[in-house]
Symmetry: C2
Subunit: 423 residues, 2 copies
């Protein structure tokens, strides 16, 4: 019953059936969108109370008037909550504005223009800059390194994280490799959780570049789809023990906890890295939006408040992931042509279709009103060499639309696979 | 009665009197601060209602859910209000996060890393970069250009703005001069309002660098100390008519309208400049904090709402400026040793003391508990060649403290002048 076991006639018949079913979709005038990892309105409603916080009369945190200038490192009240979730000392976390992407961008532009505390010169003055990119990965990460002209080297993701043999070899031998993108928990888009062994190797490995950095984007650190929360490794301590105290630059945010566009972002790193970042960002700004930080501190109360809140997200999001998997299973199960991830957290499903058919699957879906992220977008420069991965984001649409859209995706993937098999 | 008319004996007697009065100040244990242009708690209280806005249930602007990602240019509702205040088309204003300083920083870093739409190459690849700095000026402006290694050239401020003969000559002949800082209305710290003639010359003048830029920091555009509001020149139209459509990059913010640390900042510029900025900032972020933008739109209502609000600020701030001028007048009037500005808006008084005595005046004040911005801080690299200017910021302390602190400043300035005259 696997597609590859079908005779030519059977394949022709299947393609014909799928084609007519596909053609009939055009009449349905669908307009469904699985492109971006955006929270749904129902998820945003969970934080509606924030829109009236901190509230009139509540503008003081400790001795700080949050309405006025200053406080570049952010409010200790909120930093303490996030530090507990990350398992680090509160002094090692600073709170910024609404986007951890902006922190990451600034970390790299500051490195380009001024160099890091461990750099011999600003990165812009290096003859060559390279960066490791576990693939498939996050398109906006790759967008930053591409914009800055840093050559991206893909490294394959496996069960417990990136291929560490390759990472270790590259990082140890090539001093132009200045860093690496990592989403260690519920990785975008595969859902991979880095194993303890992977984390330990990343902390311990030798680097030819003295200023090698791992941007440790813990975007989904509490974004579980189960009743349990993932273990969060204390990467700074591991790296310090291995003699690389400034290796990790950890970021996270409340974008997918409270409001995607109006949350608070955080940077956790060594004292030297934080001092360096705050020194530069202190030229750029007289401090982050502390009113929003106080609102968040009031909203959460404490770290358990965040955990309780994330379980409410799970109740909304987990059924969509289940429905997506079920729809893909109904369409594709048994044909042995595609696999898809069943993540325990995060925002994405990675659908792997037969080599060379991802672009065609996305095209077919788009033509009948189901928008998907362009094939290849989870790869540096938008190029998936095998044209195999499709990132599916099931959180934004209502449950019924997720089911409908995923059914179309499954149909399109199978149709593309059939047509490809008949070539 | 001018200090220079006193005999040696009279001078000795005056210094002796002032010295004993000064010495007695130490016992009073003062702790007064005139360093930064921060709004007072009373001013912040004017916007207290913002702390509960937009409020539960109010999260939509047009078709936009402000809680979610997106909308890099900001909410049209708020942009329209600011555009009216700036006298420009609403399409020519974008709304960002809490600090116009950050917009300015990014404008320069984007230029460094990528070049402007009119640049032949990224500025980092130019052999030499220079920048015009009207002096005295804003220390945080100078901090950005200094951090980026851009050589700063001071240009003297006069009655109606910077010395335009010098500006025109330098800009026309030196292609390494890439831009200029300007605070056109109630300039920091002199309170100068650029004359129509100055603005017109800035728009029309020839520039050797094809990508010459004026960063037009309209930080105090509605910050009047009178019942009237200043006329706001439409610099983009003037520059476009003169064939320099991309010359001006205008910024402003609500930092000193609502909350200093949690306002909204704005960029107004040509379409080409806005597209360029949004292109780069779209890599850096998935959009600004639109919840805060909606809160501001609700709070103001319309442009007249902003103007009404600024008159409430005036009622708090203007008496402090009057008290400051009166205190300085009581101490220094008649001795013909110092002058000070009486601005019609903005946040500062520029006190000019005899050449070579500004540093000593600041030292004397500090020793008895009155903190002033370091002498020279209104100059590039913190160096006032004449050691003459002291920037005084009277907004933050209560009225009584402003009077007390200004009295001490006047005493210290006169004492320093006496001692200097006796040398």
């Amino acid at each position: 019953m696997a597609l590859s076991d079908l005779s030519a006639d059977e394949l022709t018949r299947l393609e014909s059936e799928l084609s007519s079913e596909y053609d009939s979709l055009a009449d349905r005038g669908l307009s469904l969108d699985l492109t971006r990892g955006k929270p749904s309105p129902e998820q945003l409603d969970l934080s509606e109370r924030l829109l009236a916080l901190p509230g009139e009369g509540d503008h003081t945190a400790g001795k700080t008037d949050v309405r006025n200038y200053g406080g570049g490192a952010g409010l200790p009240e909120l930093r303490g909550i996030i530090a507990e979730l990350l398992g680090v000392d509160a002094g090692r976390v600073i709170a910024q504005d609404n986007a951890s992407l902006s922190i990451m961008y600034d970390l790299l532009t500051f490195s380009m223009l001024f160099g890091t505390p461990d750099s011999e010169r600003p990165w812009k003055d290096e003859p060559k800059l390279r960066w490791l990119c576990p693939v498939p990965g996050y398109d906006r990460h790759f967008g930053i390194t591409e914009a800055l002209g840093i050559e991206m080297i893909p490294v394959a993701m496996g069960e417990g994280g990136p291929d560490m043999d390759e990472v270790e070899h590259l990082v140890a031998t090539d001093p132009s490799i200045k860093g690496m993108w990592c989403v260690p928990i519920y990785s975008n888009p595969t859902g991979t959780v880095y194993s303890d062994h992977t984390v330990s190797r990343l902390a311990r490995m030798a680097a030819a570049a003295p200023d090698f950095r791992v941007i440790w984007d813990n975007a989904y650190v509490v974004h579980t789809l189960t009743e349990d929360f993932p273990k969060v490794p204390d990467v700074d301590s591991l790296a310090a023990e291995a003699g690389h105290p400034n290796r990790f630059l950890q970021v996270c945010s409340t974008s997918k906890i409270t409001f995607a566009g109006a949350g608070v972002s955080f940077l956790s790193a060594s004292e030297a890295n934080l001092d360096w970042y705050l020194g530069h960002t202190g030229i750029r700004s007289i401090g982050p939006n502390k009113v929003n930080q106080l609102a968040h501190a009031r909203f959460f109360g404490d770290a358990d408040g965040v955990r309780d809140h994330m379980q409410k997200h799970r109740e909304i999001v987990a059924p969509k992931f289940e429905a997506a998997a079920a729809a893909l299973g109904r369409r594709l199960g048994g044909y042995d042509v595609a696999t898809w991830t069943s993540p325990e957290g995060g925002y994405f499903i990675d659908l792997e279709v037969p080599d060379g058919t991802a672009t065609e699957t996305v095209r077919l879906a788009k033509a009948v009103g189901v928008a998907l992220t362009p094939a290849g977008s989870a790869y540096p420069y938008g190029q998936d060499p095998d044209d195999r991965h499709i990132r599916l984001a099931p959180t934004l649409p209502p449950l019924a639309e997720v089911e409908e859209a995923m059914d179309v995706v499954g149909l399109c993937a199978l149709l593309a696979a059939c047509r490809d098999a008949r070539k």
